[in-house]
Symmetry: C2
Amino acid sequence: MTSVRFRKLAVFGVGLIGGSFGLALKDARLVGKVAGIGRSRANLNRALEMGAIDEVAEQPALALADADLVLVAVPVRQMQAVFGAIAAHLAPDAVVTDAGSTKRDVIEAARVSLGNAFARFVPAHPIAGAERSGAEAASRDLYRNRTVVITPQAETDPQARARVEAAWSSCGARLVEMTAPHHDEVLAAISHLPHALAFALVDMIARRPDATELFAVAGAGFRDFTRIASSSPEMWRDICIANRDLVLRELRAFQSSLTALAGLLEHGDAAALERVFESARTARNAWLQNRG
Amino acid sequence: MTSVRFRKLAVFGVGLIGGSFGLALKDARLVGKVAGIGRSRANLNRALEMGAIDEVAEQPALALADADLVLVAVPVRQMQAVFGAIAAHLAPDAVVTDAGSTKRDVIEAARVSLGNAFARFVPAHPIAGAERSGAEAASRDLYRNRTVVITPQAETDPQARARVEAAWSSCGARLVEMTAPHHDEVLAAISHLPHALAFALVDMIARRPDATELFAVAGAGFRDFTRIASSSPEMWRDICIANRDLVLRELRAFQSSLTALAGLLEHGDAAALERVFESARTARNAWLQNRG
């Protein structure tokens, strides 16, 4: 499909996302070598054992030496520091991508910190999170048939974009282009809001005096509804803060929906309640069908 | 474990719940024969094919002839009509149980309509729903290791209770006793509220002009969070109406939680936000651990 190859991939933040990218690119034989850099030595060692990376770099300059592909996969509020640390060490032909769940803030951070290399930064968001985190959870198949949203800027070099897209495509991902503000709007509704709701519900239950008894009766519905509340608190703190204007807008819209629903309950309007539930079921089942 | 046996089980409403009860009791060789009665002939035929029932009854009197065990597994707002239709035809030794997700209303309906047979009614709620419905979805293992909440009344005959408990136990379920009001409180928090939230979220998204684009980007987190929004609208309409005082209380409590969360976002209080998320993750992971 493509003849793109990379000498060396440098992964900043070798968690589920970064580790899976390393595994997938090595599996596709698209990359000669993978260097990883991160906060936890134990996690990096696990990534080494699993073959997600081939070497641990102690310093950004060492990770970047001869690297022509860079993935920044740290929580979004840490991206600016990473961009600042790598800007001076990027090889002239290196292209950079990221895996941030928000795009306006990450792009702004890159614009400020990458300098001339900003044209070789291709913002990306692989929609392939999971409630598991760390290299231990990484898989070469994480991106297979998943969507990766690309939000290129006016400055983005077309060749850099083509190379980054080839890398994500080689993982089995389906690429979709959006503007960054639109990406952040869409994700606020379909991802950030549900995460906030799941965290808020489990937290509310957990704080009650009878939490133990409540949890004892919780079944499979509760388990699946709250699965995303087992996601990384640090990562989701960063996402909610980075995208807070749009997350707030969605929270308020949902509050209005709940107020309307409460009104139907107060009035005992069974028919209207059933219409809401039926609309939801029909829409969800159609979505599942399209999704295949 | 028990020497209880039943000559004949009559199932009113042969869906996921009723069909699975028939399959499980037959598998445990606890019952000689199963008669089913319901609204949809196609569904009853499917139940026959699957062996969930042995015969289709056209009338309550025929279903109940010689039946010594009766399960009423219809949406909760239809229970009173079923109790009314069966009261006159119950065999003198028949015990009755139900599978309603709410208990105060079902018990009241039974008290009004079953007359003297009310002492032989043992209210039950198997916490084993699924978003699938109909006999097609039934399984002999649905109740294995699941909780069945029993809410006996002062009038409940101990022998009837023992027989009904033996039936549910034979399905592999774990029995827990609660008062009916307490059951309804617990389930409002841990089950009815999450269902209302999932339906409300999908309905909100589905009504937007850009719904198609939003759904196109939805991933596995959204899929699991909204799984329960594929549940039966009729069944959940009935549950929400039957338990509306407590569902409303939970909705209001959750609205307060969301207002607090929105406040943290407005103030950009990242540390407090992370504490909420961490509390939720810790509680959920501890629950999963205990659950085994």
